[in-house]
């Protein structure tokens, strides 16, 4: 009788602990996914702004064909990029570089720089750029805590039962991390 009670208590305890760990993992995983969609939202917002920007710049610097095409190409690449952190990150870096060149045109064409539309697009895009960076940070923080849970004892037991695997970080590449050179 007493043995039975002990067994029952043990089973209940194990179950409770298991449920808590399972819920913790689920919470972590959902946070990673939420963070990922947050990055997506910001990247999409940026893609939506670009055609407008290209049109505006065309009016002032139509012969800067190369730069304009670069941005359009980067946009197409970003749209068709597969939905993995690695692919998205490289598309995102390409985008950032192309946009930098466009904004550099503003320095060469005073009329363009004075254009209200160009200015507000610039503000909007740089704000989005900041939000993308923050979203990446939140994603990486989420991945860190998720990976920690998957690797550390005892949650790794539950994780392996659920076949959860490590997620990869969203990393900016070296080129994007260094500030662009300014030539006089």
């Amino acid at each position: 009788m007493i043995a039975l009670i002990i067994v029952i208590v043990l089973v209940v305890v194990v179950l409770l602990v298991g449920v808590t760990m399972y819920n913790g993992l689920i919470r972590s995983k959902n946070q990673v996914e939420n963070a990922w969609s947050q990055i997506d939202v910001q990247l999409k917002r940026r893609l939506d702004l670009i055609p407008n920007l290209v049109e505006t710049v065309k009016g002032y610097a139509a012969h800067e064909r190369q730069t304009l095409e670069g941005v359009i190409q980067a946009r197409n690449a970003a749209i068709s990029a597969p939905d993995t952190p690695e692919a998205q990150a490289s598309a995102d870096n390409m985008m950032t570089g192309a946009l930098r060149q466009i904004f550099a045109l503003g320095e060469a064409y005073p009329d363009l720089k004075a254009n209200q539309n160009f200015l507000s697009l610039q503000e909007e895009l740089s704000a989005t750029e900041g939000r993308v960076a923050y979203a990446r940070q939140f994603y990486n923080d989420s991945v860190l805590s998720y990976n920690n849970k998957i690797e550390s004892v005892p949650t790794n037991i539950v994780a392996s039962m659920l076949k959860y695997s490590q997620r990869e970080y969203f990393e900016a590449d070296e080129a994007a991390r260094t500030a662009p050179d300014i030539e006089f």
Binding site: Q31, A35, Q38, E123, A127, R131, A135, F138
Partner: protein, 301 residues
């Protein structure tokens, strides 16, 4: 993190229960003195219940109104809105309401009952005096308060301390109108002034309540919010130089009051230019660690 949130929720409950008990005791005490214990106790229960209820549902609005905060216009304060939104994304928080307080003193506070019902207010002085990275540090500090439910405890305290401060003031005045005596000679019969008793009771109780406040709103939460803020911005020097600017600035935040003092990122009344009475009350309600300590701690990161 989760333990912290739980602790803050526990503290909130303790605060409400404690507050109601104190008010009830005061009511009972007055009742016994006046000779009608039951009625006064019941009145006290009703009043404290009403205040506690209002505290939970409406205190954030009250705190904002008392501080004369107005919603920040998205066009005019585009930079601030963008900054708040970015940091919310970094912390995985919903965007709180953004408010502006028209005050030359640089200061900020957050209020609300949970991350979904939160607001953050900054003074115009803060926007004028701080650059972008410093402002980010301060906003991140406030968002940290929102994230770990500090705002719930401190917002509840606003209305409760406010109620106590108000009644204490009233009672003290009543006593003076009565010549400082409970019982005037020459009064026919024994028409005593129950409010004077209330005043006495509150004079005794107010320091106790202040102490309880200190216990619930520990000074550790400020340093904790400083540290989590740096986790959000990934740039401690921003908050450090912001705190240094706050330290150098001795303008008194006029929009603050005894009730809301503990909400602000910097002790609003630095004891400069306010009269003795207020600063004494203030010493009692001291809720912030000195800025020097906070800066020193951040330097170690």
């Amino acid at each position: 993190m989760f333990e912290l949130i739980r602790a803050n929720k526990r503290r909130s409950v303790a605060l409400i229960v404690g507050f109601m008990l104190v008010v009830m005791l005061v009511g009972a005490a007055i009742g016994v003195l006046v000779g009608n214990g039951v009625v006064f106790t019941l009145i006290a229960i009703v009043i404290s219940g009403a205040i506690a209820f209002t505290s939970y549902w409406k205190a954030d609005k009250i705190a904002l109104r008392v501080s004369r905060a107005v919603p920040a216009d998205p066009q005019q304060y585009q930079r601030l809105h963008n900054l708040v939104e970015g940091l919310c994304i970094a912390g995985g928080l919903p965007k709180p309401g953004v408010y502006i307080v028209d005050d030359p003193a640089p200061n900020a506070f957050a209020t609300g009952r949970n991350p979904n019902h939160a607001a953050i207010a900054v003074t115009t002085g803060l926007l004028d005096k701080l650059n972008r990275v410093e402002l980010e540090g301060v906003v991140a500090h406030e968002l940290s308060h929102i994230r770990n439910y500090d705002i719930l405890v401190s917002t509840l305290a606003v209305t409760m301390v406010g109620a106590v401060a108000l009644v204490t003031d009233l009672a003290i005045r009543m006593m003076w109108w009565n010549g400082g005596r409970v019982h005037r000679r020459g009064d026919h019969g024994d028409s005593s002034n129950p409010l004077a008793y209330l005043g006495f009771a509150l004079l005794v109780v107010a320091p106790l309540i202040a102490k309880a406040m200190q216990a619930t709103i520990s000074r550790r939460r400020e340093t904790l919010a400083d540290v989590s803020a740096c986790q959000l911005t990934r740039y401690p020097p921003g908050l450090i130089s912001a705190l240094e600017k706050l330290k150098e600035d001795t303008t008194v935040t006029h929009s603050a009051s005894t009730a809301t003092a503990h909400l602000w990122i910097e002790q609003p009344m630095s004891g400069v230019g306010d009269d003795g009475k207020l600063s004494k009350v203030h010493k009692m309600f001291e809720t912030h660690p000195p800025l020097d300590e906070r800066i020193a701690l951040l330097r170690e990161l």
